[in-house]
Symmetry: C2
Subunit: 431 residues, 2 copies
């Protein structure tokens, strides 16, 4: 499954490894955060479960292999390469930080040790799956932090980069700190709380707005959220107040949310509906929410769509996947590239977390009084360790943000630093 869902060069290189009889050399590749986007101080990692599913199910159909055979780039590929793909099964080891972990620039997220060909092909999929969910979890965490004790609901599937990305984004947003999602499939698939009552089309499909509100109450009872801004928000609030209970509250989706929420609160209170809540939505992000909260807007819950589902102010990130070690006929060699502005760091690594900062070390080292973040996930192609609940991941994200500051220091161990220097000297001598 998903065997072709990769950049072609992963497959041409794999054919080349075969042609040079290097495909079985044991290699270690690492996915790591080269740099964070301009407006992010940390990353909430997500998408690891999907990465594991992918690796454990990666395979090729006969039809897919026939397609590859026909490509001009693979016309000189050895026949054994195609036989290998037919029987492809991932047999390597994977270590990863658990989902919900907060990481910083320069830290590895996931490490794969496997025969060179098995570690090369997954690059494209792993980068995309992990980066995307991590971007959304991070954005959700920022928005939840801005909302404080008020709840944040993820409403963005219609703006996500495909409906399926919306579903995965809903999962990531929940890990990051949202209280639920409007995406029904995410509720079904991941057990996330789902929310939703009615859109403007509900109101518009009735000739009379009050009749639309009344019908919704009949259906939803105390779950009723009246969307009051189809024609005029204040008028909508008055009609809602007139109808009274049962009612969860109202939703504002346009206009000046501070001004409107204050007026609507007054209208509801005047009608004796003190317990009725106000939800706000419409082009919200962490900055607008922080402004509304600090201005004292009486809003109980925020629905966030576009900005969250696309991580609009940081829709991409410099996550990289690089070969860091290669065992050639029993001899271990460290690898690093030295491209201008885009160097990579050699050696299989571990990240150690302590209250005073993180240490990135070689995987063979131990750092005293610190906790290793990369944990075994797959050994010899089989999953090891417990499958975590999404609630555990969500708690981890919340807990870590409480305990780790945005300027948490990240150091390299002496041994790693010395290896980096040695490699740079070597490369400089070569060129």
């Amino acid at each position: 499954m998903n065997g072709l869902l990769t950049d072609l060069y992963e497959l041409t290189m794999s054919a080349g490894f075969f042609a040079e009889a290097r495909h079985d050399y044991m290699a270690t590749f690492e996915a790591s955060i080269r740099r964070l986007p301009r407006n992010r101080d940390w990353l909430v990692v997500a998408g690891i479960e999907r990465a594991v599913d992918y690796l454990l199910n990666l395979s090729y159909t006969e039809e897919e292999i026939d397609y590859l055979r026909g490509l001009r780039q693979l016309r000189h590929a050895p026949p054994e390469f195609f036989h290998y793909l037919r029987d492809f099964r991932f047999t390597g080891d994977v270590d990863s930080v658990p989902e919900g972990t907060v990481l910083f620039a320069g830290e590895p997220v996931l490490s794969i040790r496997a025969p060179l060909i098995q570690a090369q092909i997954p690059e494209t999929y792993l980068l995309s799956a992990i980066t995307f969910e991590s971007l959304i979890a991070t954005k959700a965490a920022r928005i939840a932090d801005a909302a404080g004790s008020r709840s944040v609901l993820e409403f963005g599937t219609r703006r996500a980069h495909t409906p399926e990305a919306g579903t995965l984004g809903a999962r990531a947003a929940y890990i990051g700190g949202c209280s639920g999602t409007s995406n029904t499939l995410a509720g079904f698939r991941y057990g996330i709380p789902v929310f939703g009552t009615a859109a403007h089309s509900w109101v518009m499909s009735f000739q009379d707005e009050s009749e639309a509100f009344r019908s919704l109450q009949r259906l939803l009872g105390d779950q009723t959220v009246q969307l009051i801004d189809t024609y005029d928000a204040i008028e909508g609030a008055r009609k809602t107040a007139q109808l009274g209970r049962p009612l969860w509250g109202v939703r504002l989706d346009s206009g000046d949310l501070l001004k409107l929420s204050l007026e609507v609160r007054q209208i509801l209170n005047d009608a004796g509906l003190q317990e009725a809540r106000i939800m706000a939505s419409g082009d919200l992000d962490e900055h607008r929410i922080a402004a509304l909260v600090s201005a004292g807007a009486p809003i109980d819950s925020f629905g966030v769509g576009t900005e969250l589902a696309t991580s609009a102010d940081a829709p991409a990130m410099g996550m990289i996947y690089k070969i860091v070690e290669l065992e050639e006929e029993g001899r271990l060699r460290y690898t690093a590239k030295n491209s201008e502005g885009k160097p990579s760091i050699p050696g299989a690594k571990q990240v150690w977390r302590a209250p005073d900062g993180d240490t990135v070390s070689l995987a063979t080292e131990t750092v005293a009084s610190a906790v290793p973040l990369l944990q075994p996930l797959i050994r010899n192609g089989r999953r090891v360790g417990p499958v975590e609940s999404i609630e555990t991941m969500r708690c981890r994200a919340t807990e870590t943000r409480r305990n780790v500051s945005a300027n948490h220091p990240v150091r390299r161990s002496a041994a790693l630093e010395s290896l980096v220097r040695k490699m740079q000297d070597h490369v400089t001598r070569l060129s």
Copy 2:
């Protein structure tokens, strides 16, 4: 299939339509461009094929219906609603502009006439599928325009919002004007030309860079693209020149691409490799490419990843899906919302294109000397009209951009304008 892949409120409203015996009222909904992102003058439409597939296959499993039955929001839903979902089949009509069409703000993209419930549920999926592919096709068109006669390859799956979005994005990028993609699955599935040779890990997996280059030549022959910047781009160019033919060319992926391409061109020419080409990649977008082209950089081909696969400077767009007409017991009623800053335009519409501008009219009108852009796609739940090739869509996008300027005027017909005014007056009187 995909029945739950929608916002929950589409389903609670649908249950409400049932409870009020309104679910079978014929409704017309339209997806249209409310506004373009700040830095876009037009939109290349894509994603319609996916929208059609979705509508024709939309259905619910027993397990999914059981999940819905258990939701607190649906505890008062009538039993007939769940029976309806079990037998759900889209039976309506769909009209759409064909993929590759260039549209402007205020124009409808797709129109659905169906029983209210059937037109309501698809909102979330349709908006996401069409917006995403359209954003990528548009970005690709801008980049292809900047590159002029040089080819642009889509390299961004690793940065896309899920690997699957990368595959659909590769399709959209091809429609927009790219010459091909690195995504192998997109090649297999859509017949798009695929490109790819080797990454830095290829070079790093050999102890000696020249040996890595030589091995690649043995595998790829005249398709060989040497990636020369793993350690030092100029040194890499010299080693490539030394090895000589067979060779397609070299790729630069870091550093000052203008300066490096000039130096590398000289090195290749000095070795008699005038026909060897230079490809450039690494954080490129339409602005950087335009600058390189106008500075005379001897670059023959551009590989674009992040900026294209995420439409990074415009990762979202205000596409909306609104009810515009409803037939209640034989009487047609126009519908529009009047939310502050977010009004909608009533009435089923058509867009007519003429050299001097577009006219948005009511669907019942005809505009002389102009071509109607919305075409029948589905009638009574069955696909009508020919399935276009992706090449046809790509040609349409290129042709239209050549013939339609960025400030192409968009007018409303007199009848539509009069309806809009009448509705606004009505709403103002109501409130």
